[in-house]
Point group: C2
Chain length 212, copies 2
DNA sequence: AGGTTATTGGCAGTCACTGACAATAAAGTG
DNA sequence: CACTTTATTGTCAGTGACTGCCAATAACCT
């Protein structure tokens, strides 16, 4: 793979992954707002591109479909849970850990994003394409769950038992999150709703990790 | 809703649901064969329509997208499991019931369909659109699971706990089925592979229904 | 046969998305 | 600063999935 001594880089450097993520996230916010305002079908790719200040061609380079524009926002929210899970101390009970660590980041943009994410999840009820995307993202996260579980059990992440537990965690998280999205539909995200959500999750997941 | 005495029906009667399902299933078989032979991207809607002996316009009336043409076949296989679950006697253990009742229908067309279904599931690895559709179908089946579970527990099907158990069953079934699809990739469906699959499923699901 | 309704087929159109290429931006080098 | 090199963007024309519209036909009735 390596071909001798590195020649010093020449020409324009490629954009960093960091930059990529930020730009995709920016487009994602515009797309979600437009989808929420006027529906997915009524929102064109050109419209999203214009809102994000980019040409339509570039939009299609960054996203394979207009529905997939919601992906960065949703993924970001899934990633938050993944981080909590990674931070799960080996000796602790998952229930206790979630109660302690599963709190929303309190900065303003996160709060806005959280509302946006739940809005999208609510939209998936009537927008099949969004639901499909959402389920694919959730399944993608199962791999991370499997790695964490495998690390604890000392097994491999592709053992059937580990994959089943990971899929189960994902399923529980999905139901709990859908429930949260419905619960906050009218009054917005309240600390009380979050607390209920956290408790439901902690309770259900404790059953999953029981025989670990 | 009812507007007086039924006038005797006039004109051509609408197609029965039975007929609809059979025709969709027929198209589905052709679509899956073409997808498997040449890939999804290389298969056009017109091609599927021609193979099924119908005009392209009609194909789009029966299916909202070319990928969704695989739906009837997949749904049929999910329905088989749903029937087994419905037949679950109230006093029996789920493990025992599955060992006794979860057998493939032995007729020829079912066997061919079963191979086709597993082929599609294997294809979902590299075809994101198919994976998305597959996950949506699986989630749709959760409602049935919830009804069965609710009937046993005496609760309502939209209780959070019931929905979580249903989603968990669905997740376990998904992982087990993906595993089966991989296992039979080379040698085709063997009785031994089916036995293993059934045992894995029965074992995992017994944990799910433990506290019922 | 003739009336009535459900379904189909053909045709034109829209729009998501792609390939190819010119234009521009962001570096390094003299 | 001029010049080279590479990464990214924009423009434009094209493809193909999918829809609306309407005429044609099929299936049932009297």
């Amino acid at each position: 793979m390596d071909s001798g001594p590195m020649a010093p880089r020449r020409g324009r450097p490629p954009v960093s992954d960091r930059q990529r993520q930020r730009r995709r996230l920016d487009i994602s916010r515009h797309a979600v707002r437009l989808f929420a305002e006027q529906g997915v079908a009524a929102t064109s790719g050109g419209q999203i591109a214009r809102a994000a200040g980019v040409s339509e061609r570039t939009l299609w380079r960054w996203f394979p479909s207009k529905e997939s524009c919601v992906e960065p926002l949703l993924t970001q929210s899934v990633a938050a849970f993944q981080e909590v899970l990674h931070a799960w101390p080996p000796e602790a009970d998952l229930t206790e850990h979630l109660r302690a660590a599963y709190r929303p980041a309190p900065d303003a943009s996160s709060a806005g994003d959280a509302e946006a994410v739940l809005t999208v999840i609510r939209m998936t009820r009537d927008e099949p394409a969004l639901r499909a995307l959402y389920l694919v993202l959730r399944e993608r996260a199962e791999e991370t769950f499997a790695e964490v579980l495998a690390g604890r059990a000392g097994g491999s992440a592709d053992l059937l038992d580990v994959r089943m537990r990971a899929a189960t965690m994902s399923a529980v998280l999905k139901v709990a999150t859908d429930d949260l999205a419905r619960a906050v539909a009218e009054k917005g995200i309240t600390p009380e709703a979050l607390r209920r959500h956290r408790e439901q999750l902690a309770d259900a997941l404790s059953h999953v990790t029981r025989g670990l």
